[in-house]
Subunit: 140 residues, 3 copies
Amino acid sequence: MLPPVKAHTEYFTYRLKKRELLHMTPTLEEELARSGIEEGFMLVSAMHVTAGVFVNADESGLHSDIWKWLEGLAPSGVDYKHHRTGEDNGDAHLKSLLIHHEVIVPITKRRLDLGTWQRVFYAEFDGERSKRVLVKVMGT
Amino acid sequence: MLPPVKAHTEYFTYRLKKRELLHMTPTLEEELARSGIEEGFMLVSAMHVTAGVFVNADESGLHSDIWKWLEGLAPSGVDYKHHRTGEDNGDAHLKSLLIHHEVIVPITKRRLDLGTWQRVFYAEFDGERSKRVLVKVMGT
Amino acid sequence: MLPPVKAHTEYFTYRLKKRELLHMTPTLEEELARSGIEEGFMLVSAMHVTAGVFVNADESGLHSDIWKWLEGLAPSGVDYKHHRTGEDNGDAHLKSLLIHHEVIVPITKRRLDLGTWQRVFYAEFDGERSKRVLVKVMGT
């Protein structure tokens, strides 16, 4: 008989600077081992509306390009209507929409089934306070 | 023994105006209760190529900013090649690609496992006809 | 008793030209049939950091519009810092972030549960070498 499904959930708290990237792949590998799940899906999801999670390469020049690009497409220093609430982070909301707040990582044979250059990053668009990332694995 | 997996699917039909947002979180909470699922993933997916689903804050000023931003990055009033088919909604397709048509919401202990400010929205980029949103929960 | 969960994984290898789209829906339908899964989620995920997977319409004029739009928002011919590594594909990384590298397709009653005009595409932003797309179905 095929095995029944398991779900495993963990929350990670980070306090990063504005426009800081956190490489999460090693943390995700550890959490997968803890889950005991061999086949399934891992959701990595920022629990905030001014942060993002994405998959791309771990190369510092590229990371500089990404920040510059995000600032061009979703600029700070604009008089956003959102700022009438007293906030000043309208650009961080738009950057979060552009990059997205979550990814699904496939799990195959007890491993994150990523390509050679694929790494998972948390991106902080606002910063200077504690924020949470949810990691949930479901599978067998 | 661990419980076997369940899947629960529902389709919601909406007829919205062009550039209207629909806050879906309360509907999703009800549907989750109906599913009886405690641990798993909920997919919220627009079944159309000129609509989007996203997670961000429920703040009207921010929503105005989002619409203005989307119009800047994927403008209407452009002579898109897609319009040679008789359509006039090329911008709605691009806005759909930018925002994306779906999100996964984690389900933990019978609840949508969202952060304090995270809400789920359906975004209509074309409008004036009935459109469907699929909600599918899989878990235990 | 409810059925236990199954997972089914396949890898597809493609060698496409720079800025080529591959319509994957027929391939995904075949792979779903092979999996025997009736209810669940299918992840379609590029295993590369210069490629994307998206859902939109299969219309050639629209596809031209998409490429032009992507080139406008994530242009080639820019002196990206990433190019100091010897690469010349900085724009392909940004296009991948914009379009995203993966989608989840809901599976209902043994079928891809897509709307009338929804099709799944792999987008090659760099090209001229073999690249892999992972398709993983989990469900019952």
